[in-house]
């Protein structure tokens, strides 16, 4: 099969620097540089990697260009030694991606201010998979994998320093993970809500300005969340951020096309609101300044394994189990290991999109290798499957029995304000069809891997040590109390055929 990005051209390439819009018909040049092709003008670019070509039309394909080399494992052209900067490099995803990219030959740089470490510590929790301090992590990456990661301790809100670093590195892609990823953390109190929005919204807004000034051709790959969309009770499909061309709004016997417009967002916490605000800021910046970006509506992430983090204990990425930073599957597995029932909120019929860590990393590599055109804001729904929370609990319980653990399931009061019974139909066609993504990790496979890693004595002891941070205490109504239990039941005792099932469209 032909590599999915073979026909992409300089229009997509971050090495292509816009030099002018020339109106050869009028022997004139437009004052404003725009990457827009019109009948009367010719866009001229210069390649930052192939200066010898002078100025030319942006029509060289990745397949034709010697700077893009075919990677057979991914069947994708990769920009030679592509400079990728990861913001939030110390995090669960940032560190894992840094190692993955480094192994693939990318030149990785990154920043972090260790805020995630501080937040988790502040809440009295810790990562159950132990991680070392950054200097040791970097040394291990060098020793074990031979990687040179250009890391700088830096707060994304420090625009001057960020600008300096971007100017120095000139990244060709920027992966933006430097946000607080927790809904409950943003609902603790006013101070936490404000801090989350300040970091996320203002951090991203500042980044956009700095990119405009330093690396306007670079591709911003920004982590959003499926939670931006909410879960519409009408069951209308969740498109990939933007309505498809044939979507129509009908009202009072009149119809309008919705094609190309942003789809509605219905965030479900102040954290999710910050992600929605980011969406609009990024969308506008692409429009105003011809930046390019992927907004990734990532499903709930889970898992511990990639080949790179498993290469040495010092290379492991963090894994949180607390109510603020633990994602649902990661929490279920730790609950199971502790012998606690798996807690599902309310009816437990929330349907969520999920993706395993390694699959998410595969998606990121593919997104980095397929930059949108300059000026284009694009959105992908990054999920590999949809599952109801209560079905998920059944799966975790089933896998736990292979490890000799007898796991129960418990329904508790929902601390959140959300629908706990709703339909969900998700469209996720871009990654599998346009970018060549194939999920490789099944729920069972990765959950099994998690049990293997998390039942190791040292890690199990760390889980035991912090078991008091598992039960949710942060309620959306502001009342400080632990959720009470409705019922506890054995897996396999409920009729799982009833209720809504998620529908995932992966074909065009």
């Amino acid at each position: 099969m032909k590599p999915c990005n073979a026909n992409r051209t300089c229009w997509n390439c971050p090495a292509a620097m816009l030099k002018g819009n020339i109106d050869f018909r009028a022997c004139g040049q437009a004052k404003e540089k725009k990457k827009q092709l019109s009948e009367s003008s010719q866009v001229l670019i210069e390649c930052s990697r192939r200066k010898d070509l002078g100025q030319f039309a942006p029509t060289i394909t990745f397949e034709q260009c010697p700077e893009w080399e075919l990677n057979e494992e991914y069947n994708t052209y990769m920009l030679k030694n592509m400079r990728v900067m990861i913001l939030g490099l110390d995090g669960y995803l940032g560190w894992t991606l840094a190692l993955k990219l480094g192994k693939l030959g990318f030149k990785v740089s990154g920043i972090d201010n260790y805020w995630r470490r501080d937040c988790v510590m502040e809440k009295g929790a810790h990562t159950v998979v132990p991680i070392t301090r950054m200097t040791d992590r970097l040394r291990a990456a060098k020793e074990v994998l031979g990687l040179d990661i250009n890391f700088r301790k830096l707060d994304i809100l420090d625009r001057a320093k960020l600008k300096e670093f971007l100017d120095e590195v000139k990244p060709e892609a920027i992966v933006h993970y430097a946000e607080c990823p927790s809904a409950p953390y943003s609902m603790v109190d006013a101070a936490h809500a404000v801090k989350v929005q300040e970091n996320n919204v203002l951090g991203t807004l500042g980044l956009l300005w700095v990119m405009k000034e330093t690396v306007p051709e670079s591709c911003l790959i920004k982590l959003g969340t499926m939670g931006e969309y909410g879960a519409p009770l009408t069951g209308r499909p969740i498109f990939e951020g933007i309505f498809p061309a044939n979507a129509v709004l009908k009202w009072n016997d009149r119809e309008w096309s919705l094609g190309g417009e942003l789809t509605p967002r219905d965030p479900v916490s102040f954290y999710h609101v910050s992600k929605v605000q980011d969406t609009f800021n990024v969308y506008e910046a692409c429009k105003y300044w011809w930046l390019r970006s992927y907004d990734i509506m990532q499903g709930v992430i889970y898992g511990v394994h990639t080949d790179e983090v498993a290469a040495d204990p010092r290379l492991r990425t963090r894994l949180d189990m607390d109510e603020w930073f633990g994602t649902v599957i990661n929490r279920f597995v730790t609950q199971s290991i502790l012998g606690m029932p798996l807690t599902i909120y309310g009816e437990g019929e929330q349907i969520r999109g999920f993706i395993a860590l390694d699959d998410a990393m595969q998606c990121m590599v593919r997104l980095i290798c397929n930059p949108p055109e300059a000026g284009q804001y694009d959105v992908v729904n990054q999920v590999s499957g949809l599952i109801r929370v209560k079905d998920l609990a059944e799966t975790v319980a089933k896998v736990s029995s292979n490890f000799g653990i007898n796991t129960k399931i418990q329904r508790v009061e929902n601390p959140r304000v959300e629908a706990d019974k709703h339909p969900l139909e998700v469209v996720s066609t871009k990654l599998p069809n346009m970018l060549g993504f194939e999920p490789k990790i099944s729920f069972e496979k990765e959950i099994t891997e998690m049990f293997k890693v998390l039942t190791q004595p040292e890690i199990k002891a760390r889980i035991e040590e912090k078991k008091h941070v598992i039960m949710p205490k942060t309620r959306w109504d502001g009342v400080k109390q632990e959720s009470e239990s409705f019922e506890t039941y054995d897996p396999g005792t409920k009729n799982l055929e009833e209720g809504y099932k998620g529908v995932l469209h992966t074909k065009d």
Binding site: N21, I22, A26, Q42, L44, A57, T59
Partner: protein, 423 residues
Amino acid sequence: MGRIVIIGLDGVPFGLMDDLANRGIMPNFANLREKGTFKAMESAIPEISSVSWSSIITGVNPGEHGIFGFMDLIPGTYTLSFPNFNTIKAPTFWQKDNNKHVILNVPSTYPAKPMNGFHVAGFVALDLENAVYPKEYIPKLEELNYRIDVDSEKGHQSKELFMKDLFRTLEARHITAKHLWDDMDWQTFMYVITGTDRIGHFLWDAYENKEHEFHKQFLDYFKRIDEMIGEISNKMSDDDSLIMISDHGMGLTESNVYVNAVLREHNFLELEDADRINHNHMKASTKAFALDPGRIYLNKEGKYPKGTVKKEDEEKILQELTNVFQNLEKDGKKVIKKIFRKEDVYSGPYLDDAPDLILMANKGFNLRGTLAKKELFGTDIFTGMHTQDDAFLFVKTPKSIKIPENPCVIDVVKIMNEIKGDK
């Protein structure tokens, strides 16, 4: 020793200069005309500014300087590139002697290179930063509000804004010229006004049609230029020589002719379906394709990635192409005036890079190389188009020199050399 001043007026035909001098709109030029030689001059083939100015400043034909159009293909690819001043293969007159030169706004000289004197490149100059030598002069240019070119976007948006921008750019350029004249010590001063070409493209009809709402402004623009010519000639001493030139003429466009659409209709060219069509989307069955304006290239095997035309078939295809274009008509009018083989018009080491056929159109037919059009003919916003045979040349010199009977653009350097007494 007398100095040489060259004033270039991009895209101004002999006929317009003559007409405006006769009508009293350009009195200074009318006065000069009496004291020198004023002739029509042949432009380059094709009559494109970059080709023509390259010939004017080097004194050689495209087969020697290597510039055949605004855009050319990167060798071995179908990617259009913009040949710039680094690409030009022959030395310019200011690179050939030890004199001090001021070169202001000469098209196709971007990026500026080190030289003895001062140089600001003209269209296409992608940024001021690389258009100026020495760079130390950039702040001064900025202080003088110097502008490389009119904003052509304005021509598409509003003729009114466009006119304002034309005048603003002209004034800034002239202030800069006067500053350089006084500030520098020079033997050659070359100063090109390019707004004349832009006004011609967007508003040629305003010149020809006295009722046109911009007719007066069109004439005012040239009146202002005439005042500038007067100012400059008054600054010259009796020893100095003045050469005025244009790179090509201008005339009314009746119809665009989409050369690639003609090639498609006659199955010389086949294209894949694509959103943003470019030469990469040609199918391997393509025998010939065109670049602006009427440059036709055979899709030769070994020369292009999808080239399939074998050497032994070349002559036959060239004949077929010639037949097609000789017979091309619109409303009973023949479109093509002449068809040249490359050997007919070019000579020199870069002959291989030249188009295989060069079409020259009859009056009013504007040849275009776009791939985006399916129809053979059409019109657009532009009312003026380049013409080949009526650029102009004016020479006023105290020296006794011979000016060719039928001058063409490559003669300008020879004339300068004669004035200087060089052979």
